[in-house]
Symmetry: none
Subunit: 234 residues, 2 copies
């Protein structure tokens, strides 16, 4: 009959109105529920589908059908994301996000931000250990994010950074002992800070993009070189 789906919808709504449904918001599997309501599985599924579009329940393969809104805490775990990712993917995300942050920083950066960036540049030039260089690099990138003046963007950067660290952790065994000598990054970092200082939005975007491109290139070079350590300040 034609109205079988509507009938199923009615039956389903009536069943959901029951006061004694399980407290975890999970309703029986479709194969049980359809016999319980005396409708075919197809009709039940169409009824469930409309209720899902209304946001009154949500379904997931292998898990079940649940009342209410989907739980959000799914992919917020940094380690979970990191496990399903790889250095190249993180790098490409950085290539999209960080130049945008640099461009935004040109609009909102304060004098304190600029001073801190210059300080990072100086520390990098004078760095004598890899650790010093790396710390200054991290600090510079985060200062750019701070300079956007947007706490949400800063939180996103921190999330990206945490994912990056977790992805790299375990892969990078032995870091070099000394900072890079003939390194492009020196000049690129200074170009970046200059562009932000001069409120050159496009220039800052480009400088950050170029810098991350060289990082990506050395990353690719390293991974193609085999199991060797990943270089640069990735």
């Amino acid at each position: 009959m034609k109205g079988s789906v509507e009938s199923a919808l009615t039956q389903l709504k009536a069943w959901l109105a029951q006061p004694d449904l399980p407290s975890d918001g999970r309703l029986p599997p479709e194969r049980e529920l359809c016999t319980l309501l005396g409708v075919s599985r197809g009709a039940l599924r169409k009824a469930l589908s409309t209720l899902e579009q209304d946001g009154e329940l949500w379904r997931q393969v292998g898990k079940g059908t649940f009342i209410g809104a989907r739980s959000v805490e799914k992919s917020l775990s940094i380690s979970t994301v990191a496990e399903g990712s790889n250095p190249l993917e993180v790098m490409q995300a950085r290539l999209l996000v960080e130049p945008m942050l640099a461009g935004e920083a040109t609009v909102h950066a304060t004098g304190a931000h600029l001073a801190e960036m210059h300080r990072c540049n100086r520390i990098q030039r004078e760095a004598r250990t890899w650790r010093q260089y790396e710390n200054a690099d991290n600090r510079l990138h985060r200062t750019v994010a701070e300079a956007t003046g947007n706490t949400v963007l800063l939180a996103l950067f921190d999330q990206l950074n945490a994912i990056r660290r977790t992805v790299v952790w375990g892969r990078l065994r032995d870091k070099p002992d000394y900072p890079p000598a003939d390194h492009k990054s020196f000049g690129q970092h200074e170009l970046l800070v200059r562009a932000i200082s001069e409120r050159d939005q496009e220039g800052a975007y480009q400088a950050m993009h170029d810098h991350l491109m060289t990082v990506q290139e050395s990353l690719l070079r390293a991974s193609s070189r085999g199991s060797g350590s990943e270089p640069d300040n990735f």
Copy 2:
């Protein structure tokens, strides 16, 4: 003999100095390693223990023994970020992030992604309740993030979305009962999906940007109107 532990420590350090140890930093299980080094398990364990106290490796039952420092997962609290933010700031972050995601989606979107986006468009056109409309909107935006094919970008979008929901949580009084009638968003959503379908990167970026601009405008209009409900699908 007395110096068996010291012998084990020496052997172990020599083994760790090997250049071809596995890249994940994991050592062979104790039962293998002790035969490998020709020492008893007890002596090996004492040697491992001293190295662990020195922070040169860490161990966990059932997992293994690893070189380096334990990974630390510091979880970034969404509610903390949300408390120090506001709807306008979230909106500006969206304006910077989501058009970029849309542009990237044009490169990597699969047929399944496009089908899902069209489905969201259709549901929005046919929506009869606000909740239906809002669900489809959320779904569409998330599908765009999925279509980037980058799990890190997807995680960042989820983070941004979670912040948005938390920020809006306490401020949104009463939602309208019916979906928007003369709404710009209809056309904008369809423009967006069309641009992604046609692999028009710049067009997708622009469409998402325009869409979010109208959302922001209505948000500003609402907040200037006083304590009234924030409209649209913010």
